[in-house]
Structures are given as C-alpha cells and as structure tokens.
Symmetry: C2
Subunit: 278 residues, 2 copies
C-alpha cells in the first residue's frame, strides 16, 4: 500500500488554508537566504509557493554571501523582536565564514519553525511540546494518517542528522517502537535491514535500499532525495520494493510534500502560540 | 574482564582533588533537597561526601515539602545569579505539587551539572559541548579508559529516560556505534539482546539480564541499581555473565562510582567555564 504523501499533504494544506482564513490575520514567515546556492534558491521558492497557497505571507530576505556574522545576527535579532513575524528560517547551508550553529541558535526558539535550535531539540528529546523539524514531523503524520501502530515494532532509521535522523528516531521512540539508528559506520547494513519492521532511509543515495534488503511486510519510509538525470529519486528502489513492503512512500509524492505541509503547520502553530491561542 | 569503576573513579577523583587544589578557589555545588524522601537523602549525602573528598564545597539547602513553586523558583534564581555558586542540582523526585520540568528548566544551563535542562539536552543531541548527565558520561569515560572501540559495534540501551537512556544512546552514537533503544514495550527482549555487541541495561530490575540472553564476548554495562535484602544489586546476573562477557561492570563498583566522579568533573568544568578557564 502506498503512503500517499501528496494526497495527505493536500488535505492538510486545505485545512490550513481554512484555518488561516478563520484566523483572519497576516501570518508571516521570514526566510533568510544568504548567497547564491542554487539548490537553496529552489527550496526557498518551494516554501514561498506553499505559503502563498495557504495564505501565509512569506518574506524572503536575500543577503549577499559576504555578509558578516554580526550583520546577520543583528538581522535575526530584529526579526525575533518584531511581533509581526511568526516564523523564521535561515536557509542552510550557510557560507563557510559564518558559524551556522551560532546563527541557528540566535533564532528565538518560539519562531524556530525548522526546530533546529538546541532548545527545541532538547524539548523534543524531553518529550515537551515544541516545534518539530518538518521532515520527521511529516513522516509521523503520514504514518498516523494510515493508523499504523508502531508499538513494539522494530524501526531502523538510517542517518543521524539533527534535522532528520535523530528527531525521527526520537519520535518513533515516542510511538513505542524499538528504535535503531544506523549510519555510515554501521556494519553489514544490507543484512541488518532484514531484521526490521520499519525502515526510514535518510541517506540521499539512489537505490540504496533494494527489495533483497527488506523483510516481507516491512514499512518503507523513503526520506532520501537525489537527482538522477534531472529526475527526483529517493533512496529506495520503489518498483521492486512495492511488492515486498506492506506500506511504502513514493518519491516524489511521499515524504517531500509532507515536509512542506508540516512546515506550514509549524508556522501556524508558532503564530497561535505567540497569540496565546494554544 | 571487569570494568573497574571503583578503581577508575578513584583515579579521576584523585586528579580532581589536585586540580581543585591548584585552582585554589572555593568551588561550590548547591544541592536543593525538598521534603523527606529517604532515598534522596542518601543520594544527597553521597554527593556531599564525594565533594568533601575532592575539596569542593557542597551546600545542601533543605526545604520543607510544602514549599510553593514560586518560592523554589525564587531560590533557584538567586543561586543562578550568585557567582559564588558554580553548580546547582535540584534533587529529584520533587513533591507532586511542583512542576519538575519547569523547575529543572529554571536552572541556569551553565550551572546545570546534572545536564537535565532542555538547553543542555539539546546541545548533547546537537553534538555541542555541554554538561553531560553524570551516569552516561561515567559509562563512556569507563569504556574509554579501557580503550574499547565502539565504531560499528551494535549497542543496545535498555531504558529511555532523559537522565540516562537517551543521553547514553546519543553518546554511543557519537562513538559511531549502531545504537538501539529498547524499553518496556520492546518485544522478545530476551532474544533481541543476543544480537548485540554491547548491552547497557538501565532498568532497575535485579537479574533482568542473564547469561542466556547475551552473546559470547559481549560488553555488559550494568546501570541498574536495586536493593535486595539490604544489598545493592544491578540489572545483570554478574556471576553467570562474567564468564560470557568480554567486559562487564560489577554492581557495586561499576557505573555507580563513575557517576559520582563524573558529577564532580561537571562541577569543576562548570567552575572553569564560569571563570573563562575553558
């Protein structure tokens, strides 16, 4: 069965659009884009388009790649203190002369809709209410939508980034799965994978997971995004896996649209939190 | 081979004692004890004795169990703002009328030598330098001391608390182990354990891990503490396991003394950070 992220995300966006209309206020996400990374430009355009669709105002601040750290920190500080801004994203990666850690953590945790500040990461680890990074949040929303019960299931997360792998592992743990985190140093991964009821691959290598590596009936969550000859592909060999897996996310149309929908949810959540509506 | 926490912790404490002498300043840990929990009283006494031994000043503030949340928050705020205090522990558990989360997170993260604030938990998840909870820190120090290379090893952490299980999993992940977190909802644990190169049991049930559950040559880290007929025992059946495991921590004399030593290290680290010596 296909976990249809495109369909579910469309429902979420439709509901958000109605909610934004009901709230009847200008909800604004600020996206800071430093430099000329072409992939970053595409991502920012996607965010802008998604905001437009649901009626969220998206202000993109484009900055020269030679901006100093102090200038950027000042700008973030201004956004933090401006009550008309409800979410703030600093698009990564940043140019090397900027301390990404310092800059991300200068974002007010209440406006940190990417969930990347240490405060929000710590809240997630401590099971406190917080803004959850959009990709893992989207994965859980998708699994929830299909009423997939994860209690006692063996879940394997491949990848240990702060944006995806680690928070996804924590969220699966909160669902009472027994969770394993694998990574580039994991041995015999191609056999290991056979032991799991759920595999979430967050690697970015096309055809990294094949049907031979997966036990029949496993749930496959494909978080990887690569481009092959201009086509967007995931980590998982969908064609062979779709006959082995019980559930599988396609790429495109799986985790990607759920990520965008979850980011929009975070912006509205942040707005409501700021207004005391939560 | 026995992982001799008693011996290694004695070395650490000896070195700390010399360092404290060299620093030639009054280093102070504040421990706040609310109410009359008898186990808490014992733990606090242990901390006090350990501080005495290395020359750290330990001030225990005993509070009536009916103290209000505001009174306690005020007191913590005063300790936070007093530069003569370098570490602050609020002994858990707290009486039920107090919001433990709120109280722990009111501690200045720089003085949070238990590593329990969301800021410090988030820093740990993000691999930033921080005060690491004493028990998992002690486990890693002990494994490091015996030059145990964890890269690519399959590690199982049983237990998912914020004080021990989760931070230990993150630290093992930083050592490039492939890490699994199991818990009360994990299925067939008694068979699962056979797949792992390292098992860290943080459960608190005597004889929870027996030799039948462990593959020959595994590393056994016993984090559990229980009392049976007045005797302190761990989660692991040491007598049968010591012939199966490659390395094993005894109880007592394993993780326990390493925890105390790590807490003392955290206090000195916090002092040095405050004084700009790090």
């Amino acid at each position: 069965m296909i976990l249809d992220g495109k369909k579910i995300s469309a429902v979420i966006r439709k509901n958000l659009k109605e909610e934004v209309k009901r709230l009847n206020d200008k909800i604004t996400l600020v996206v800071v884009l430093v430099g000329n990374n072409s992939a970053s430009k595409i991502y920012v355009r996607h965010k802008q388009r998604a905001c437009d669709e649901v009626g969220i105002n998206c202000e993109v601040i484009k900055l020269d790649e030679n901006i100093t750290e102090d200038e950027l920190l000042n700008l973030i500080n201004n956004v933090n203190n401006d009550e008309s801004f409800h979410g703030l994203i600093v698009q990564l990666p940043l140019p090397k002369h900027l301390n990404a850690n310092k800059i991300i953590n200068s974002i007010d945790s209440q406006k940190d809709v990417d969930g990347l500040t240490v405060i929000n990461q710590g809240k997630l680890a401590n099971r406190q209410k917080t803004l959850i990074p959009a990709t893992p949040k989207g994965v859980i929303t998708l699994l929830d939508h299909y009423n997939i019960n994860l209690e006692g299931k063996k879940a394997l997360v491949i990848g240990r980034s702060n944006l995806v792998g680690k928070p996804l592992a924590l969220l699966l743990l909160d669902k009472n799965a027994t969770v394993t985190i694998a990574h580039s140093k994991t041995k015999d991964l191609e056999k290991e994978t056979l032991n799991y009821d759920l595999i979430a691959s967050c690697v970015g290598i096309p055809n990294f997971i094949t049907s031979k590596m997966v036990k029949p009936g496993a749930i496959i969550v494909d978080v990887g995004i690569s481009r092959v000859e201009g086509k967007v592909v995931g980590d998982c060999d969908f064609e062979s896996l779709k006959d082995v897996a019980s559930y599988i996310t396609p790429v495109p149309g799986g985790v990607g649209p759920m990520t965008i929908a979850s980011l929009l949810e975070n912006v509205v959540e942040s707005y409501k939190e700021m207004k005391g509506l939560l």
